[in-house]
């Protein structure tokens, strides 16, 4: 009986996570439009609801009732599977983020590896979507995104390894607790920079949005998608953005530690600041070329992340074993 309760609780949490990511996506799309408008000296959405706050809700209703268009020569199975395999891992990765309060999930001893591993499945979805669309732009976008993901995964993982060395645990709750006096951004500033920049590449944002560069690939792997399936790609993009920002908060910004207010408040606040930082970068910097992107990953970030590992070892020697 207790088993069934645990099982049902898990299912309920899954539904909550899915709804949470859905709501976040709507909020983030609005935020992104407002932020980009301010940076480009515009006002952004203004007329639907107070200050245009209901604009994404209206957009979402439009997307859901839109006709589901599929190219006649597209592979039906892969075309449907693509958006699903892209969106689900982004939501699953939230399972190990210790937000605090009732959302302090502590099930997995290897949560840090889980967070690096599960979003990796997204690439399969992008490749399938790009291939199944039967369209050269989509196909190129899918291939580019997977090449980019595989390349940037290596320095990003090494940046996380340095944090794990200092924390001495792969459990996300322990990593948060280990930063009690000083957050790791102070001990490992280089690691933080490497993590943030490679994360931008992992979630396909400018200056690393080569897979969907509109000036050359129309919209990359989701060129042929419309309606709800297209919305799923958006869900995946902003879900991954939120998860990556939450992970940055957990690894480098001291997780939920802060004065007076409860953990969950500080955790969400720090995460939102990181999300804003990502948006700020997106609307200020131009995009890299595909070859520059690869050179940057292998010739700059891989060596930097190795240097960071050595620095982490030195810090470990200095503060003594944990």
């Amino acid at each position: 009986m207790r088993d069934l309760l645990v099982f049902g609780w898990g299912l309920a949490l899954g539904v909550v996570a899915f709804s949470l990511v859905g709501g976040l996506t709507a909020a983030f799309v609005l935020l992104e439009r407002k932020v980009s408008a301010r940076i480009q000296l515009r006002v952004g959405p203004l007329h639907t609801g107070p200050h245009g706050m209901l604009q994404t809700v209206a957009d979402l209703i439009k997307l859901v009732v839109k006709e589901d268009v599929r190219p006649s020569r597209a592979d039906p199975v892969a075309f449907r599977l693509g958006p699903l395999l892209t969106a689900v891992p982004a939501i699953l990765s939230l399972a190990v983020i210790p937000f605090g309060g009732p959302l302090l999930m502590r099930g997995l001893n290897v949560g840090v590896v889980y967070f690096l591993a599960v979003p990796g499945m997204t690439v399969i979805g992008l490749l399938l979507a790009g291939w199944a669309s039967y369209d050269n732009y989509s196909f190129l976008g899918g291939l580019r995104s997977s090449a980019q993901f595989i390349s940037y995964e290596i320095p990003r993982t090494l940046a996380v390894v340095a944090v794990v060395m200092l924390a001495g645990s792969l459990n996300t709750v322990d990593v948060a607790a280990a930063q009690q006096p000083w957050p790791y951004i102070l001990l490992l500033p280089l690691g933080f920079v490497v993590y943030m920049i490679t994360t931008l590449a992992e979630v396909n944002r400018v200056p690393f949005d080569i897979p969907e560069a509109e000036s050359e690939l129309v919209a990359g792997y989701h060129t042929e998608y419309s309606g709800f399936r297209w919305a799923l790609f958006f869900l995946a993009e902003y879900g991954a953005l939120f998860a990556a920002a939450a992970f940055a908060t957990l690894l480098f910004l001291g997780a939920g530690s802060g004065p007076f207010l409860p953990d969950i408040f500080w955790f969400v606040l720090k995460t939102l600041i990181v999300v804003f930082l990502f948006m700020w970068i997106r609307w200020t910097l131009p995009r890299f070329r595909a070859d520059q992107l690869m050179r940057l990953a292998w010739k700059v970030f891989l060596p930097l992340s190795l240097v960071n590992l050595v620095l982490a070892a030195l810090v470990m020697q200095a503060i003594g074993p944990r």
Binding site: A78, L108, N109, A117, G120, E153
Partner: protein
């Protein structure tokens, strides 16, 4: 094992068996690779239920996120023009004989051997794994690295020969 874990174990087991069969039997290479990915994910679920959480996560990291993506990538880059690549339908080749022989040997070995009783699961197996890799298993661990390096050099040599 509790009831819920038993149910999940059966679910993952059936999923693994079905997706593995589909991966072998379908003629479409792309679907075969995706089914292989599903099989490896189900296998990770089984590892997790057997209290090997690190192995489960690494299974997804390396096999689903690495090997399956690499296979898809290779398929898509190598079959330009052919939009739905298929495997040859000949199942009597030398490769299938080797596969049947290995499969038969594995079944025979698992029927003949008695499985030792499982020791109590460790609360956190990662430190033990790490120590094992860097102490008693150091030599095989390093050897695997050398083999992988040789594979990379071999791949480079093949590509360079084609270009020249």
């Amino acid at each position: 094992m509790t009831t819920a874990t038993t149910v999940l174990f059966v679910v993952f087991g059936v999923l693994a068996a079905l997706s593995a069969l589909y991966a072998v039997l379908t003629r479409y290479l792309l679907r075969s690779i995706v089914a292989l990915g599903a099989f490896l994910t189900a296998l990770a679920g089984i590892f997790y239920l057997l209290a090997a959480d690190f192995v489960a996560v690494v299974q997804i990291f390396v096999y689903v996120g690495g090997i399956v993506v690499l296979m898809l990538f290779a398929l898509m880059l190598s079959s330009s023009g052919v939009r739905h690549p298929t495997a040859s339908s000949d199942r009597r080749s030398l490769g299938s004989i080797v596969a049947y022989a290995v499969g038969g040997m594995l079944v025979w070995a698992s029927l003949r051997s008695t499985l030792p009783g499982m020791p109590a699961a460790l609360p956190d197996s990662v430190p033990y794994l790490g120590r094992a890799f860097l102490n008693e298993q150091l030599f095989p661990f390093e050897l695997i690295g050398v083999i992988l390096l040789a594979a990379v050099v071999a791949a480079l040599a093949l590509v360079r020969k084609e270009r020249a």
